[in-house]
């Protein structure tokens, strides 16, 4: 892991100095702020947007903090995950394509350090963005709708974070294998869709990482959640993806 610290520092500085800082954190923050706001305004908006024939009516439940948090979690699981897949299609390959990797890897920077520093830096970005966004979501929800089940929300976001680790690790592997970012992003969407399908079956949802989002929703609703096995397999799958990415990238010519 020679050069890991130096390259990790470069990755973190790059996140701040380039467009990267604006994409995923912006999506996460947008989900955090828009969810309580939309939940709060929804009854009024539906009322204003009505235009239904006489005799018909749409009934909308009163806005609650729980509904706002559920909306936030839903956005994290769909909107943010989709952005993550697209944004990280070139997490490894883009430097190889641009030629910057050649200068760095001709120095005593190991291929493993190169891959893992990229993974860890983006994991830190997602973690920091999720913490800030969740705090902002809880604060805005408290102002508009009351505090509600904030501790459960934090636990649910923690499960989402494990899911994000799995998807990020899968993207690192795909980007190490596929030279074109668009191809990796396309394959990543396939992985995401596969998890969505697996989540529909109880057997696979209970033991695979696909069960992380259903478990997060159950935690948020205060229902019994089977989160242990999905978390364990999620971490195992992430580790396997990273090991495979390092192995593949170590054999790749630059």
């Amino acid at each position: 892991m020679r050069g890991f610290g130096a390259f990790l520092g470069k990755e973190l500085r790059e996140t701040v100095h380039t467009w990267r800082i604006w994409v995923l954190p912006a999506f996460i923050l947008f989900a955090a702020l828009s969810s309580p706001l939309i939940t709060f305004l929804m009854p009024t908006l539906v009322d204003r947007l009505g235009g239904l024939q006489q005799g018909f009516a749409i009934s909308v439940a009163d806005p609650t903090a729980s509904a706002a948090y559920a909306e936030y979690l839903g956005n994290l699981g769909e909107l943010v995950m989709f952005a993550l897949v697209i944004a990280y299609g070139g997490i490894v390959s883009s430097e190889v394509r641009s030629g910057t990797a050649a200068l760095a890897l001709a120095k005593p920077l190991s291929r493993g350090a190169f891959v893992l520093a990229k993974w860890l830096s983006q994991l830190l970005v997602i973690a920091v963005a999720a913490v800030i966004a969740t705090a902002a979501c809880i604060a805005l929800t408290a102002v508009l709708l009351g505090v509600g089940p904030a501790p459960e929300t934090v636990a649910a976001v923690a499960l989402w974070f494990v899911y994000a680790i799995v998807i990020l690790s899968a993207m690192v592997l795909l980007s190490a294998v596929l030279p074109a970012p668009a191809a990796a992003a396309g394959a990543g969407i396939g992985v995401y869709a596969s998890f969505a399908v697996l989540a529909q079956f109880e057997a696979t949802s209970r033991i695979t990482p696909a069960g992380l989002m259903p478990a997060a929703q159950a935690v948020l609703n205060g229902e019994p959640a089977h989160w242990q096995a999905p978390v364990a397999t999620g971490i195992a799958v992430s580790a396997a993806c990273l090991a495979a990415a390092v192995w593949r990238f170590s054999r790749r010519e630059i």
Binding site: E14, W22, L45, R48, A102, K107
Partner: protein
């Protein structure tokens, strides 16, 4: 709004402040409109339309320009600082390079405590710095290297010549650890490059033909990053970065690399290749993007490094090789066509001169020249003139006009033609075959 956003390209802080104020005002108006929409009993259809318009405005007025500004600011940033081209005096770069190696010590060790003791460690300065034995590199079905073998003594300046596509860059990528040979052995400073990993790379400095940098970094930031990959830190790194900025003529340049000219990037590339004071310096076409001053400086630097380190210098410019190299290899189609000390190359080149001749009936003159003792080759060029190769230029210049006069031809042009690399290359290849 977009016009104002576009003006960020001129990099004015006033415009940035103005945009920030406008954005805040718009945000306030948007919030007010949303609250008003939620509170006022308005017409249902109109309310719905207004919401859509507000959402559209939110994107057009805020998110779109914000993204535009972010991208624009990143791209415009290089224009914020003036670009200063290096015009250092003669010998400046060479002195800086020499000082760098003198400060690093006679062995030019890597920053991690020097080169690891490898198989050739005890025989340092005696064994070859680079040794390639029967190296083949096949891409799908095409062989870029086809049994390449050569040896480069440590401490020498080695010229690696060849036409485009001959396999020069592939060879350098293998030596730098970026590619692996399909078969054969490649040793650098006594280590197998395919197995030694970071230990070998710690002793190497590498400049690719088109160096690519992180555009958002400045030159000092990049050199600091490059040094940190070798484990350099603290005062040593500070001193090394300052010396290399001076060497590259980039001291005081705060511009991001994205705004550098190609020459500036090339000089920065040379500087980063020297950050670890390498025992083997791999340079792939280092002068190709430089103006005459920059080219001279790089060649001076390479010359002064002789004895301090080994320089493996790939180029297709014969004059560069003649100026600084001790020995040279010419490769073609992935094979070594010739491998000789530079003096021998000069001798071969000096033994053959070219003449360009234009007469009204070139075919008659070509026929009459057959058998001339000073003539090595004659051909009719595409422009209708004759190209003669001779090993006795004086005799040719004395006898050729007389022959033209005897034939009753009109002599329109007679001048010596500079030998190109291709001429030398062909001569050497034919020499090898003979």
């Amino acid at each position: 709004m977009r016009l104002i956003a576009a003006s960020i390209w001129i990099g004015s802080p006033l415009v940035v402040a103005l945009l920030a104020v406008l954005a805040l005002v718009e945000l306030g108006l948007l919030a007010w409109a949303l609250v008003d929409l939620a509170r006022r009993p308005a017409d249902r259809v109109a309310g719905g339309s207004r919401l859509l318009w507000l959402l559209l405005c939110l994107f057009v007025q805020l998110i779109g320009p914000a993204l535009y500004l972010v991208v624009g600011r990143v791209r415009a940033a290089p224009a914020e600082a003036p670009i200063r081209e290096a015009v250092g005096g003669g010998g400046h770069v060479a002195r800086a390079a020499a000082a760098l190696y003198d400060a690093a010590g006679p062995r030019a060790p890597g920053a991690d405590g020097g080169a690891p003791p490898g198989p050739a460690g005890d025989a340092e300065g005696i064994g070859p710095a680079v040794e390639l034995v029967g190296v083949r590199k096949v891409f799908r079905t095409a062989a870029a290297l086809d049994g390449l073998s050569l040896s480069v003594p440590e401490g020498s300046v080695f010229g690696f010549l060849g036409p485009n596509g001959a396999g020069k860059t592939t060879t350098l990528r293998i030596l730098a650890g970026l590619a692996r040979p399909t078969s054969g052995a490649a040793h650098v400073l006594g280590h197998d490059v395919t197995g030694a990993g970071g230990d070998v790379r710690a002793m190497i400095g590498f400049l690719p033909d088109v160096p690519a940098f992180y555009k958002w970094m400045t030159a000092p930031q990049y050199l600091r990053f490059a040094g940190s990959l070798f484990g350099l830190r603290g005062d040593v790194l500070d001193a090394r970065v300052a010396a290399l900025l001076d060497l590259a003529g980039l001291t005081g340049v705060g511009t991001r690399i994205g705004g550098f000219s190609r020459g500036m990037k090339q000089r920065l590339g040379v500087a980063q290749a020297l950050v670890n004071a390498p025992r083997l310096l791999l340079l792939d076409e280092p002068t190709s993007a430089l103006d005459p001053i920059g080219r001279r400086e790089v060649l001076d630097m390479v010359a002064v490094l002789r004895g301090r380190t080994t320089v493996f210098f790939s180029t297709h410019i014969l004059a560069d090789v003649e100026r600084v190299c001790d020995s040279v290899a010419i490769i073609d189609h992935g094979r070594v066509a010739a491998h000789a000390p530079i003096d021998e190359l000069r001798l071969r080149r000096g033994g053959l001169s070219r003449l360009a001749v234009e007469v009204d009936e070139p075919q008659r003159l070509a026929a009459a020249l057959e058998g001339a003792p000073w003539l090595r080759a004659v051909e009719v060029a595409e422009d209708g003139g004759l190209r003669l190769a001779t090993d006795d230029l004086e005799a040719a210049q004395r006898e050729l006009p007389a022959l033209v006069a005897r034939l009753g031809l009109a002599l329109r042009r007679l001048e010596s033609d500079e030998l190109s690399l291709e001429d030398v290359f062909v001569d050497l290849v034919e020499g090898e075959r003979r």
